[in-house]
C-alpha cells in the first residue's frame, strides 16, 4: 500500500468496499424503511435551493436499491453537511449520514474524487494537517505568519513516519 493507493483509494481497497457495502445495505434494508417521504429533510436542506439536492429522494432511491446509480451520481457531492435533515427527521433516518456513506463508497470504488479532497488527504499524510502555515493578509496589505504574531509553534505530529504508519493501517487492516 502506497500513498498513491490511499489517496486514490483505488481498487486494492476491496475490504473497505465490502464493509461499506454491508453498511449501506443495512441502511437500505432497515433505516430507509422508516422513511415515509414527508420531505421535511428537503424543505430544510441547505443544498436544495442552490444545487437541487433532495435528501428524501436519496432515501427513496436507496430504498429501491439504486445503489450504483447513487454512488456514481454527482448529486451526492452537493451536500453541505449542515445536518438539518438528521436533526429534523421525525423517523431518525439521517440522510446526511447516508450521503457520507455513499461518498465513501464512491471513493472506495475508485471513482475520481472531486475537488481538493485528494490534496487535503495528501497534506494530512505528509504533515498531519490539511495545510501548512499560510501567510495571512492584513487590512493594510501586509503579509504575516503565526510566529510574527507571537503565536506559539504549530502543533502537529512529531514523528511523521509513525503517524503515517497509523493511517496506512486503516486502509490495510479494514478498520
Amino acid at each position: 500500500m502506497t500513498i498513491v493507493d490511499l489517496t486514490s483509494m483505488g481498487e486494492p481497497q476491496t475490504d473497505l468496499k465490502k464493509e461499506l457495502n454491508a453498511r449501506l445495505t443495512k441502511l437500505q434494508d432497515e433505516i430507509s424503511d422508516f422513511c415515509f417521504q414527508c420531505g421535511k429533510c428537503t424543505s430544510g436542506c441547505e443544498a436544495h435551493k442552490l444545487l437541487e439536492l433532495e435528501p428524501h429522494k436519496i432515501v427513496a432511491l436507496l430504498k429501491r436499491g439504486l445503489l450504483n446509480e447513487l454512488v456514481n451520481s454527482d448529486i451526492i457531492w452537493t451536500c453541505m453537511s449542515c445536518m438539518k435533515c438528521r436533526e429534523r427527521c421525525p423517523q431518525r433516518v439521517a440522510p446526511v449520514d447516508i450521503l457520507f456513506g455513499l461518498k465513501n463508497m464512491a471513493v472506495a470504488s475508485g471513482k475520481e474524487i472531486p475537488g481538493k479532497y485528494t490534496g487535503m488527504l495528501q497534506s494530512i499524510l505528509s504533515m498531519g494537517l490539511i495545510q501548512d502555515i499560510q501567510q495571512a493578509t492584513t487590512r493594510t496589505n501586509k503579509t504575516v505568519k503565526r510566529d510574527e504574531l507571537g503565536l506559539p509553534p504549530l502543533s502537529k505530529p512529531v514523528d511523521v513516519t509513525k503517524f503515517h504508519a497509523g493511517i496506512m493501517k486503516i486502509a490495510m487492516d479494514k478498520v
Binding site: M9, P114, K116, I124, I130, I133
Partner: protein
Amino acid sequence: MTMKKKYAIFPGCLMPTEQYAYELSIREIIPLLGIEIVDLEGFSCCGEPMKSVNQFLTLYLSARNLAIAEKDNLDVFVPCAMCHLALSECQHVFENNPEMKKRINGLLAAENLTYTNKRQIVHTVDLLHDHIGLETIQQHVKKPLKGLKITAHYGCHLIRPSEIGRPVDSENPQKIEAILTAIGAEPTTCPQKLDCCGAPLLTNLPESALTKTGQKLQAIQEQGIHGMVDVCPWCHKMFDNRQTKAGETVAAKLAVPVLYLPQLIGLAFGLSPDALGLDLNLSPVEKLQQKEEA
C-alpha cells in the same frame, strides 16, 4: 484559592495555519477570565474534512487527538466548530460502540496511544457561557458596546446533531446572545440565523459555497444589522475573508463587519485592536469601531 482550570487547546488545522485572529483573541481573553490554556505537541487534523472520503479515517484521527490530551490528563478546548463535532462524535461512537472503540485503540497502539473516553470537550461558546459564566465576563467589561446591533452565527457543526450532544440548542441557540448582552451589545436575530456559511462546499464546489455566503450576508445587510460574530474558523473564512468575492456571486456590494466573538468581547474589555488581531479581519470592521465611538 481554587486552582485555575486548565484545558489543552486543540487548534485543528485552519485556525493555527491561517485564521490567526481567532487564536490571538482567544489567547488574549480566555486567560484573563481565569482559564489556563495548555499547548500540547503532536496534534493532527481532527478528521472531519475527510469524512466524505473515509469516515473511519475521521474517527481514527479524532480518537488520536483525544488520546494525546488524555496522556496529559487534560480536558480539551476546541475553538473550531468542525473539530468540536468530530471529537464529540468520536466520543459518542466510543460510548455506544465498544467494538469500534477496541478496533481504533488497537490501531492507536502503534503510536503508543489509547483513548478511554474520559475527556471533557468544550468549545468557545460553552467555555464562556457555561464554565466561565456571564457574571465573570460582565465583571471584565470596561467599554460596554452600547447600541451595537450584532447578530450571532453559530455554525452548523456547533449546533447539530443534538443527538450526540452539542453545546447549544439546535433550533434556537441563545448562548452567544446572552454573552452579547453581557458585554453591553444588542443581540439581534434574523430569519437567516441558522443558515449555513457554505464552507463545506469549498473543497469541491467553491462557487456555490460563496453564493451561500453571499446570500446570508446580503440578507443581514438589508436588515440594518451593524455586524456579525462567528465562532468557527471555517465560517469566518467565508463571511470575513471572502466577503468581497461572496458579494460578487449575489451581485451586491457587501459591507458587513464580521468579528470572531472573542474579538468583540476583547473590545468590550478595553483590549487593543492589535492584540485581538483586528488587523486581520478583511470585512469593514472599522464601521463597528466608529459606531462604538459615536
